[in-house]
């Protein structure tokens, strides 16, 4: 899959990396067991510090999206993405809290908010083919 990074953005590069790889998994552009480039190779191609890529990979590993093998390198978790667990629900709520608060401030209805979910989720569900690179 293609990874697009915006160097002028306020979002740190490692966060962009994490988000894009998760998006790739959601779109099925990255399939379980698929190999990702090594830390050095990815950092060289992008032209950024090894630590930045390492940080992104570590976070993806902790959240259960990838495995880091000593020999086989970095792979998308063969068992598929992690399930919805208590921790994830808690984190999701924390993230959504301020977003929903602001939408209420601005007078957004629940329907409008849900419509946004539909719109965004379509990008992942309809676009994602089996091997869409």
């Amino acid at each position: 899959m293609y990874i697009h990074l915006d160097f002028e953005s306020e979002i740190p590069i490692y966060t962009q990396l994490v988000e894009q790889i998760i998006a790739g998994i959601a779109k099925k552009e990255l399939v379980p067991g698929e190999r990702l480039p090594s830390v050095r190779s990815l950092a060289s191609d992008i032209g950024i510090n090894l630590h930045t890529v390492n940080k992104a990979y570590q976070e993806l590993r902790q959240r259960g999206f990838i495995l880091i093998h000593r020999q086989r390198g970095v792979v998308i978790h063969p068992d598929g993405p992690p399930p919805i667990d208590e921790q994830y629900l808690k984190d999701l709520k924390t993230t959504l809290h301020p977003l929903i608060a602001e939408s209420i401030c601005r007078g957004m209805t629940k329907e409008e908010f849900v419509k946004l979910y539909d719109e965004i989720s379509k990008k992942y569900i309809t676009e994602g083919g089996e091997n869409n690179e």
């Binding site: 697009h4 002028e8 190999r35 950092a43 032209g47 950024i48 690179e133």
Partner: protein
Amino acid sequence: MNDMLFIILTLLFIPIFIIMIFIPYWTRRTESFGVSIPEKLYDTTQLKKMRKKYAIQMSIVSLITLVIFLPIYFFIHQNEKLVAIVYSLIILIYLISSFLVYLVFHREMKKLKEEQGWFKHKKQQVVIHTKFHNEKLTISNWLYMIPFMITFLLIYITILFYDKLPEHIPIQYNLNGVVRRFAEKSYGSALFAPITLFFLIIVMLIVNVVIAKSKQQVNPDHPEESIMRNVIFRKRWSIFLYVTTILFSILFSLMHANLFVEINSKLMLSLPLIITFIIIGGAIVLSITTGQGGSRINIKTKKDETVIDRDDDQYWKLGQFYFNKDDPALFLEKRFGIGWTINMARPAAWLFLIGILIIAIGLPILLSL
């Protein structure tokens, strides 16, 4: 025979001149005189004029070089060693002069960019594909087994028939194919050709690996097209490198065989020239048809005009020397020219260059001791 030397030296100028004059036409279309630009500006009349002006100025510098060389040559042509030194010196001065001409254009381009604000209202991005290096970017390294086998065969035969070798072994030829230096017979001098060939093949093999490993450079406004171009670019140069290695293996084998059996002297005289001609001619044809990063290959796809490659001018000192401490990449495409260069902020890249230089300079000295 000295007329021959004169013709060869003059002819050798031509490929150097061609390369220096036409470089701006062979670079990536996202670069102009060492400055990154939005691709669609490459074909504007302003930049076209600049390239033309550069080509004209470089042609004049080239012509002057030739005009200076001719009388000097006739003045010193009796002394072959002096001719070699003066010739190298003239080429060095020519290269420095071309760099100065380039610098003027580089400055002008930089100023132009500052004034115009081309990168405003565009999203600067870096795009990479996660499977790029999994693709076949070069020919297989295993193919280099063939020239290695040739080398080992030469070494084996030499050791087997060591007694049959003459007492003095030629280790240096001039451009006319006449032996310039002999060495006393020893295993070192007897194996001079095969061992030199052996290291030559190693260097070529390393470069083949570098071509595969070097940094992925994708244009964000049309990533697919850009990857296609880049894959073809790498493959073509990898094949070129291999053909060069095979030609050298043939040349060295014949030169070495000449020690044991008399080989047609006409062939021995013309073969080095023919091979040099094929290699240099091939490199120029490849540069014209492929361009840097595959920029001259004819592929057209739809472009996204809202995004643009990241402006990395700050890492390109004088527009040509890449120095980026945060980038772990050792090798990447040259900016102004064809081929690859090193990340000068990485000591490992320097070690690599020095290593190759030591092999190139040290080996002939070591073997002729």
